[in-house]
Symmetry: C2
Subunit: 238 residues, 2 copies
Amino acid sequence: MRNLLLLSNSTMHGTEYLQYAAENVKSFLKKFSVEKVLFIPYALTDYDKYEHKVKQAFSKFGFDLKSIHRYESPIDAISEAQAIYCGGGNTFCLLKALYDFKILKPIRDRVLLDGVPYIGASAGSNVATKSINTTNDMPIVYPPSFVALELLPFNINPHYIDADVNSKHMGETREERIKQYHEVPNTPPVLCLREGSMIQVEGDNILLKGLKSARVFIRDEEPKEYDVGTDLSFLLKH
Amino acid sequence: MRNLLLLSNSTMHGTEYLQYAAENVKSFLKKFSVEKVLFIPYALTDYDKYEHKVKQAFSKFGFDLKSIHRYESPIDAISEAQAIYCGGGNTFCLLKALYDFKILKPIRDRVLLDGVPYIGASAGSNVATKSINTTNDMPIVYPPSFVALELLPFNINPHYIDADVNSKHMGETREERIKQYHEVPNTPPVLCLREGSMIQVEGDNILLKGLKSARVFIRDEEPKEYDVGTDLSFLLKH
């Protein structure tokens, strides 16, 4: 039943919040006749400020939006939601809050059983997957687990960036980090979304959309590039 | 009693392993008449290969070295150690192994109570501090806690890198990440060591050494730069 729109990032350099993905967000939500979106702001600390910024963007797109922190019961907010938007920030803060407020399973059930459309950006895309093992964020708080919403059985690496061949910095490249992850036994595929890219998921169909090709890492295989428009549904079968 | 040499990184671009810090490592270990170093390889997965590489470097410096994975009992290895070198790699893997092998407290006791000299590089410097909350690494495994060896009461960010003002990438800069950490209540100072820098700690004296200035972030204060040669002992008082 799942309907997901998972963005690498919310903002492209020099443009407004979600501007690059405006048409994708609009057509995705309109298909389900959504009028009002439930916003999950937990990846940042100032929920009011974050809601204000996101509300402005969604309002331009023609949708009302309210943050979950305005509701007395977060669980009631989820059971009433027509659609969910989970914004970016720090993935560890976000996942910890989902555990603290006990809303991991309620969100999963609404999306997987009731078909409530879910949009994620950056950290909001990380938590939509199997786990947050491939976030780029700093582990500034300790969540009770790295297991996430499991709306998909693989991992996403948002903000994917190719190695700068001229760099003299000795920190690991993104590719090296993902390969280190795949040295751990039984780790799932990692879909690396460059900034400007996204996937749209309808049931068992995954389509790569946006501006840039994506890179897929599968354990014990060479990484592969996939162009915008590619059907990535094979990721569900690993 | 602590005697620590904590390096930002093991290797500078275009030079050999630990070459930039050779004189620092040699004079540090000679002061304690060390002949043999116990190596902790858990930040990488191939312990034999890692030991081989590190053994070559220490051999050039005039020291014998053996990896802890060669001992039947890791705890016995630590109780016999003349000095400990904890190498870089993935901080989450390293800390998880310290917990799994139950050697966190044995190492802490040997360093803080017996004065056994400890050298760390990158992940090995992260785990020497209060916690791994300010590692740059990807969370590829889940350790039972982010609390680390607590040889020092603050955090280190190794491989510190200044923001590239020309970058169009929208991932957070290192400075933004540290500031997000300090939005969490009661977080300690973060000492950011650029590649090529290190601190030498003798009891309550901390000296900045190496090639580059360091940046210190303290919660609710503006970050400050400190030149090589600066006494950073004030970090113990926060």
